[in-house]
Amino acid sequence: MFLQSSTSLSADKTKRKYETNDYSVCLRSRATGLWLPHNWENKKFERVQSGSCDEQNSKQTSDTSKTIKEDEDIRIYAAIAFAFLLIVVGLPLWWKTTEVYRVHVPYGRIDDLREAEIMFPMSITVFSKSIYRANLIHEHWMNTTLVGNGIIKVDYKVDTSVDLDKALTSHSLEELDALDLFPNKAGHIYLVEVPEMHRFTAKHVVVGSKRVIYFSQKAGPKTLVTLLDQWILRSEALVRTKAIIEAPNEWSRDRTGRRRMPPAAQYDLMFSMVHPEPEKRDVKWNIRQAITDYCGALLEYLSPVITFHIKSQWLYSVRLEGRPRQVQQESQTWYSLPEDVLPHIITPLEKKLGSGVSEHPTIQLVLYIPPCQISPLYITSSQPQVPPSTAFLSPRWGGVQIFNPPLSLCGNGEKESPWLNSAAIMNTFKMQLKLLIGIPELDKIDGVEQLPLPASGIRDWEMDSLMRIRATEHLVSARITLKSLAQLLDEISNIVINDEVGDRIWEAILKSHESINKILEHNLMDGYNLSKQAFLAAETAFSDPSLLALLYFPEDQKYAVYIPLFLPVMIPVLMSLKSIRSWWISGALQTSGSKLKNE
């Protein structure tokens, strides 16, 4: 009922509307153009009505309507042309020409790096005459979940078949250690039970300088586990290294981590001889000779892993800050530099040491000859039980050593001074260098002894541990760097990524994966080197100056320039789109209407 009345009403309305042709033009154009049509049904109905209306008046209006229609079409075509030019040609052209150049950054691959778990495989083999004891140790490990910590996958093996006769015939453990009993491969640790070890030492466990641990029949499995965990695997340090890079605010570095130099491609090693009073005391030291004699083996050993550029210089007339206190002890007078002033010493020294043009971080090793009036000089601790020392280490920077030549040389210019004894000086420097590259001091474990250091000063298993930590550091930093880069790119749209930076990003991703795989394949050395490359690639990508090329042009200024141009041009064009649309619809209706009529 309601429906019927409504349709009849609208029919009435349209009839009334189309009483005169001119009026209908006026009203309809308003209704369909500026405002939206009432609704589709209605309009269709109107259209049919208007058709009949047109038929009534066709004779009077056919000529004028035809010219008007042609005119309208042309205008609409013009509007379409404008809209086409501006929207289809102009806008993409503008977009393309003002676009910030950015090669494809593999965001997905960067995210994938998180999933790639770093896992160091480690194989530990126990050699023993007695199957029972070997199994006992093995079982003990199986029950201990401590070792590994999720970052090291330990694989235990027991071997009782190996002939250990050589162990019996050798005269000392050093001699035994020098023999290549086992393939000395990274990622392997051999535990060897030496029969009658008490011949050599009172301790039950002795750590060799390669990758072998010797233990006696009496050694408890607990000691062995502690030894493996604290000295050899150092999984705790690995976990910490990883965590600290990921969340620097939540974790604090362990002691070794704090001292270790930040990762870099290469390091400069600068030996500085600081001699404040050359006129009072003549000091002679052949630095170059000392470095080759005492550090040569160490640097040679490290060369596949860390590259050093060795430099040396003499600095005269430079004094350390801080007033030493005179100490009268029995018949001796010496000067004491309190421990707490040490931080103030380095800063004034730093400006004279110079960094030069090298782009690598510099490890500074400073030998200081105190002036005569404060000589001999020692560093004293606030704790009374610590004896006065002559050297201190500044984490991630270098080491300073005080050398006190005999006082008899003071003011006695004519006296020919002897050459400095390099051995003592260089041994301290070697110790400091080891700490700075990340080889820790070994905490004491009861019943465990180490064989004397090899000529290089670093044991093979220490090196493995360092490589594991460095590789973790490299891989995690590379991942974090890439992640931050991706985040930055997401936030700041003005950053340019050129082809070279794009290549670096890819290199970092691929090398990271490659490195992780190599490490899993027991190839620690290659894995380490690849991780270093990945780290460096990520760093280069992140710190490339081309990233900043367009950053000084902020977004709001861009729009300040574009809006006065685009607003007045785009508004009429966008408005005309509406009329184009209605023209299009009406055209479609007209054809359908005429079809209807033909039927």
């Binding site: 309809r28 154009s29 309507s65 509007a79 002679k284 210089q313 005269y316």
Partner: protein, 617 residues
Amino acid sequence: MIVWALFTLFVAHVSGLGQSELYGDEFHEELLLKQLPSGHVYAHFQFTTLWENGGDQPNHHCHLFPQSLSEVLHLYNVDEMHLSLTGGLWRHENWGYPIVSAPPGAELWAWFKEGTEDVDKKWTLLSNALSGLFCASLNFINPQQSLNPKYSFAPLGAYDTPSRNRSLLRYSTLPREIVCTENLTPFKKLLPCDSKKGLSSLLSAGYIHNANYHSLGIHVRPQCKDVNCHETVLELRQTVSLVYDLIILGQESRDWSFRKLFGVGLAGSCPLASTSKIYVDCSTNGTSSVYTLTPDPTETINSNRGGYNTVFAVYDIKKTNIINMFSISSTHKGPRVYLLNSPPVLHATRYIVGYGQEHGGIVTKIHNNHWKDLDISLFENIPWFLPIYYHTLKISVNAGKQILKPYAKHYIPGRDRNRPYALELLVTLPPRSITEVYIEFDYSFLKWQEYPPDANHGFYVGAAVITSLLPHTKNYTGIPIDGSTFSSSINASRDTYPVTLHTEILLVTLPTPDFSMPYNVICLACTVVALAFGPLHNHTTKRLQMLDSCEESKGLLASLKLRLKSLLSKSSSEPEKSAPEQKREESKSKEPSQEGDPSCEQKIMKRKKTKGTAAAK
């Protein structure tokens, strides 16, 4: 008053020498004080480091030679390097020749090692490294501003081959560079004794920058080890040249002393120096003015060089027992005598001619006061934004009485933003003549981003360089090429005396735009586009059409009403099935007003959008 005492010791102990034997290096410090004819006092410090091992293979173990500089030299394959940082202009006409000539601002030239690949890159890196080392804006030196002179800047070092490949030379200047304390501090750091001991302790920044002219120089070159010259040593000469105007320093007197010039006395020599000497030129003592030097010099030397005799009072600091502070002072007696200025054999001035901001010309006036011909090479270095016209080059003598033809010309036209204009002329100057070298140029427009801050200050054009060999040593103080220290210039008679002159730098005012212009242009262009586009778009897509008058007269109110109505009718037709009767009543109540509308049938002209549906059917 500074208390001083003078003792001569027979045995001078030099510490640090034992170490020097190992490294094969030595260090000398010297100071020359000279009263110039104009009444100014010229103080020239020279610190020379010679290093045997430095010449050959990369050597990173340094003793007296500064480690940072040695690293730079080896890293960038530099054979020879000359850097000067100068404030003020050396006035050759009044002051004679300096020991080392330098133009105002910064000047750097370097010879790279034979076989160096990619010299331009190495040059950029070198200037960047030096920029960091000396806190100067040398990093603005780039290959686009650098030149490769053909005749000037011959290598000064000792080399195996007599002729060197000229492509290994780079030269550049920064005339606008201002030299100050921040350059002096790193300069002093390179000295083995820093500024703690020795002559370098006299270099206090406050007094140095008071001077009329101050120039820092770093000169590195390979030098012969001995007379036979089978081996070379690396020579580093660090120089500080100062010219003081005593009148400005106060007290209206001709007397000078260390306290007056440097503010401090000397505490002693640098313990690492092999020699530590002060030379006071006393040639004019007794002729033009009479003065006494206190304390008495260690010795007095007569230097007969190239026909001219010079008297030096020498103070050997190593042999002087200094108890408190050491200071040299001169006390004048008698009335002040103003001498007639006797200019040196060769000097030059340069200036700009022309008016307006379109064309101009550069005139270089070279004076030859010698009674014989003098061969010179003139090197003009003109930035690309002053395009010069080679055909306008005119070399006239004595105000156009004679036109000179240069013996050789070398011209490299500049390229915009790429290469400066280089013009080198080898000219023989007639005796007792003034030669004018004139060339025209255009003032060019720069891109707005190329203007420096404070563009209205103007643009500097680097100094022209004149190189010549003088026949005698009038007003000449230079060190012979085979010597390293100032002491080697004593009695050093040679056939000719090489001299390098730097002329004035020029300040050019280029047409400078209003720098808000780019934004104005953007705004104007946008407005024009918008203004043009609007009518164009309207004319092509809209037309004038008739509209009935009642709608027009009702205006906004009517249109609002109509809109409301259409909305209502829309809402009434849509929810037909579910809508309550209320709605129908509402639509019915609107009926009368709708009925009223069609009564207006008058037509008026109104601008109206064309609509597809409006096309009459």
